[in-house]
Symmetry: C2
């Protein structure tokens, strides 16, 4: 756990990968880790040289990242790590609130008490992170928390959408969007409340609303701050 890049295709374990896949994983990792920040110019020839192979597989990798929204690829101009745009952030968060809400509701009936306990442990760690002020770890743990809940999610498509959203948010990590004061504490509290709802066997609709609101609240906190 606590990996950086999220998604089924992120790191296929073997060495028997195509260079195209390797390039995809490498560039994606750099974006998600923050080595390539938004606006960063992705020069194909340079990346190819860095990785030690030609531009063709790199192009394919970039195209794939483009399809996932992590990269903007403009004809005859080049590729850049995509956007800080507040509007884009709003879109992403709103979409995430919907797909996370659905994923949580669909997963809830399938979560056993062991998973609940693990999720609770992760949430405790998050609480500790707050004291030591470790936002990077906090974010990673936050993904872990929800990943535990989604472990038995019956719909991989929805899970994939969640992961895409997370990666997209990760790509803009160091920007102004994250970490509204006080929001993190609230987030930990909401996690606990969500766990109790799941434990109590609350109906799907209630759980979905709670999970959705959990994400939406972070967005609201940002919007409220941005307004000032």
């Amino acid at each position: 756990m606590t990996e950086t890049a999220v998604g089924s295709t992120a790191v296929e374990n073997a060495a028997a990968q195509s260079k195209s896949q390797q390039a995809y994983a490498a560039v994606k990792a750099r974006i998600v880790e923050g080595a390539y920040t938004p606006g960063y110019r992705l020069v194909l020839a340079k990346i190819a040289e860095d990785l030690g192979f030609s531009v063709v597989p790199v192009r394919e990798a970039i195209r794939r990242l483009e399809a996932e929204g992590l990269v903007k690829f403009e004809r005859n101009v080049g590729a850049t790590v995509s956007g800080i745009d507040p509007t884009e952030y709003l879109y992403t968060m709103q979409t995430l609130s919907i797909v996370e809400g659905a994923a949580t509701a669909l997963s809830a009936p399938l979560i056993d008490s062991v998973s609940i306990a693990r999720a609770r442990a992760v949430n405790e760690e998050m609480r500790e992170c707050l004291e030591h002020f470790d936002p990077v770890r906090f974010t990673a743990l936050n993904q872990d928390f929800h990943s535990v809940l989604f472990e038995h999610c019956p719909n991989p498509h929805i899970l994939d959408l969640v992961h895409r959203g997370w990666n997209r948010l990760a790509s803009i990590r160091s920007s102004t969007f994250r970490f509204v004061p006080g929001r993190a504490q609230e987030s930990v509290r909401e996690h606990e409340a969500l766990l109790q709802l799941i434990e109590s066997g609350a109906d799907a609709d209630t759980i979905e609303k709670a999970a959705r609101q959990h994400r939406a609240s972070t967005l609201d906190a940002y919007l409220a701050q941005a307004k000032q």
Copy 2:
């Protein structure tokens, strides 16, 4: 309206497109129109020859289609139009019900009476299609109906997810999944009910549930039939 391939990037108007984009549009169109049916083997060299250019842009196009789920691309084996799998159908429909539900709820407050009237007209055409038994046109009109409702959707990301779902369904059009007896009539009725909800200014949650159920019912009808 009543286009075949749906999505923002489907048909960039000019001739000044990259061959990669042309290839993408061409192959996508063939899939969505049903010329390439599921399982169809996409031989890169052959497609390249058909279109009159080399394999490199075709590969990029295929990669993009892969990212959208329309194509399965296996290393050293090749690309095929992706799947009829009932499970896949279930995933897609379930995901669609969620994103369409959200898109409808988000759009509802922004829909004016003119759009409502247009949607209603489309729905009337659908009713007529039922009498002449024109399922292809019915499906196209169905997309038109919802497209009218989504015209002012404030979140393009969600709209994009809707379009991807539609394209995915279109790619399996001629299979056993569509057109459960009686479902089409019900669908037309549900459209009218949905319009009345929107007109009456019902709250977001009610509209979302109705829109979600509209898609879910089609899935349920299929599942019930498949069980027999």
